[in-house]
Symmetry: C2
Subunit: 322 residues, 2 copies
C-alpha cells in the first residue's frame, strides 16, 4: 500500500507545471512548492507533468529541478537525487539505480538483487527497456561487464530472467529441487550452476514451494543453512535473493534500518527505498519497521535527515503525527 | 521480403471463417479451400480469422484444422503441423517450436539458436511471453532444465537476452573483444565465460563491428577459426550464432538446403523455416537458395514433398512458374 497523500481532485498538469515554473524562478528556489506539488502526485500524474512541462517550457523538468546537475543523479545532493529519482517513471528510476551500481559494483552491493527480485517480471522488463533507452546498451551486458566470477554467474541471469508469474506449482519438482539445494549447501558448493539456475529461472510461487519443502525435509529454513559463513559475500547475496522472494517488505525494512542506523546515514539507500516503494508497499514496510524497532519510520527519518531532504522524504512516507 | 500472395481487397474475416467452416464439413476436408484461404492471408488477418472463428463457431480454429490432433503439433502429420504453425501468431509459433526442442534437446539441435538470434529483441521477447501463456513456465527454465554443461551455459543466456538494437557501436570495445575472442579461440577455450558473455549480451551491431575487427586484426573471419574441429558440436553452435548474426538469410538457406537434400526430407525443418520466414525474408532466402544451388527453391520443395503438404508450402513460398 502506498503512503502517498494526494489532493482530491488533483490540479491539472498544466497548473502544476505553472506552480513548479514559478518555484524555479527568482533568487532562491521555492522548495516548499516543489515538494507540495511533486511529492503529492501519483506516478501517472507526475508523468503528465513532465510531458506537459516540456511542451510548455521547452525543457525537461529534470533540468530546473537540479540546476547544478547534468542528469548525473549520482553527484547530486541527497535532496536533488531524491527529487530527480521521484520525478522519473519507476522503470527509468530502476534503470538509473541499476546503472549507478554497474559503474561501481562491489560484492557488498545488493541493489541489483533488489531490483531484479523485488520487482515483478513486467517491472524488471520495463526497467531493462528504460535502461536501453537511456544508456544505449542493455542491462545484462553492463552487469556482465562490471561483475566477475561467481557474482557474474549469479547476477547476469538474475537480471535477464523473465519469470513466469502464474499460480501453477509443480510440487514434485519443488521436492526434487529442495533436495538439490540442500545437497549443494551441505557440500559448500553455493555457486553450483543448479543453485543459480533454480534461483534465477523458477517462478516465485515455485520457489516458495521449494523453500517450504526445504524447511519440512531438512528441519531448517534454507536461509538458516545459508548462514554458515557470515563473512562470505556470495552467501549473503543468496540470502538476500531468498528474502526478496519470501518476504520483500521485511527485506526492504532491513535495508531502511541499516541505512538509518549507520554512522552517517546511508542517504543513497534511504532515498532509493523511499522513492521506489512509496507508491507500492511503503505502508507495509513502515509496519515492519515499527514492529522491529518500536519507533515509527517517520520519526527515524526525521531524526536522521535535515531541511528540504527531510521534508521531501517525510512527504513521501507520510508525515509524523503531531 | 515476404513471398505471400494475397488477394486485394482481402475478404472479411467472417467470410473467410465461413469458407473454412464449409471446408471442414462433410466427409472429407476440402484442403483446397483451406489452403486458398489461410495460405493467402497476412498475419494480422489470420489472427482476426482465428478470433472471429472462435466467436462464431465457439471453437478454436486449430481444432478443426487437424481433427486427430490434441494441440500437440509434434505428432501431427507434416501437412497438419504446417497448417497449425501457420495458423498461430509468430510469437506462439516460436514458443511451440522452442518447446518441441526443449522436450527432446540434443547438442545437434540448433533451433533455439535460430529463434534466439535470428529474431529481433522484441520478437524473442514476444516468443517468451507466448511460451509462458501456453506452457505455464518460462522458456529459460525449460532450456536450463533440458540442457547441460557448456550448452546450458550458452543457451540459457542466449534465450534470456534482450539485446540493445540501436545503431551505437563502441569501436574500442569491438577491438578489445575481438582480441579476447581470438585469444580464447587460440587456447581452444571456446566455452570461456567471456566468449559466451560477448555473444549473448552484445548488440548485433556491436558484434558485427567485433567480427570485422577480428577479421582485420587476425586475417581470418572468426567463423573460419571456429572450424578447427568440425565434429565439435559446441563449436558448430558458436558458428551458427555467428552466422545468424552476420548473414541470417544465408544461414536459413543452408537449413533449407540440408532439410531438402537429406535422404527423406527433414520436413520438420522445412516447415519451420517456411512458416517462420514466409512473411519476413523468404524472398531473400529464395535468392540465396538459387545462387547456391542453381535450382529454384520452389522446384526443390515441389520435388521433395507431396499432395496437400506440397500445395501448402508452395502457396507460402510462391508458386513455381509454369
Amino acid at each position: 500500500m502506498s503512503t502517498l497523500t494526494c489532493p482530491d481532485p488533483l490540479p491539472s498538469p498544466a497548473e502544476d507545471c505553472e506552480r513548479l515554473h514559478k518555484a524555479f524562478e527568482g533568487w532562491g528556489t521555492d522548495e516548499g512548492s516543489i515538494i507540495s506539488v511533486l511529492a503529492h502526485r501519483p506516478a501517472a500524474h507526475r508523468r503528465q507533468i513532465r510531458r506537459v512541462y516540456a511542451e510548455i517550457y521547452g525543457v525537461d523538468l529534470l533540468k530546473p529541478l537540479d540546476k547544478e546537475l547534468t542528469r548525473d543523479f549520482e553527484v547530486a545532493s541527497s535532496r536533488s537525487r531524491a527529487v530527480l529519482l521521484w520525478a522519473v517513471d519507476s522503470a527509468e528510476r530502476d534503470a538509473v539505480l541499476a546503472n549507478e551500481v554497474v559503474r561501481k559494483w562491489s560484492p557488498e552491493n545488493r541493489v541489483l538483487i533488489e531490483i531484479a527480485v523485488v520487482r515483478t517480471a513486467e517491472e524488471l522488463l520495463a526497467a531493462r527497456r528504460a535502461y536501453q533507452n537511456r544508456f544505449k546498451r542493455c542491462l545484462e551486458e553492463d552487469v556482465a561487464g562490471s561483475t566477475h566470477g561467481d557474482f557474474r554467474k549469479l547476477l547476469v541471469p538474475l537480471v535477464s530472467t523473465f519469470r513466469y508469474e502464474g499460480a501453477e506449482v509443480n510440487t514434485s519438482l519443488a521436492k526434487t529441487e529442495a533436495k538439490l539445494l540442500n545437497q549443494k549447501i551441505k557440500d559448500n558448493d553455493y555457486s553450483h550452476e543448479d543453485v543459480i539456475r533454480i534461483l534465477t529461472t523458477r517462478s516465485k510461487m515455485q520457489l516458495l514451494a521449494t523453500f517450504d519443502d526445504y524447511n519440512n525435509a531438512f528441519g531448517n529454513p534454507i536461509n538458516k543453512d545459508l548462514k554458515s559463513d557470515p563473512t562470505n559475500q556470495f552467501l549473503l547475496a543468496l540470502r538476500a535473493i531468498v528474502r526478496c522472494i519470501t518476504c520483500p517488505q521485511r527485506y526492504l525494512e532491513k535495508v531502511m534500518r541499516l541505512s538509518i542506523s549507520k554512522m552517517g546515514t546511508d542517504e543513497g539507500a534511504l532515498t532509493r527505498i523511499i522513492t521506489t516503494r512509496a507508491e507500492v508497499d511503503m505502508q507495509q514496510i513502515k509496519e515492519e519497521y515499527f514492529k522491529r524497532n518500536s519507533v515509527r519510520l517517520e520519526q527515524a527519518v526525521k531524526k536522521d535527515t535535515t531541511r528540504d531532504y527531510e521534508d521531501f522524504l517525510l512527504a513521501l512516507v507520510g508525515q509524523v503525527d503531531s
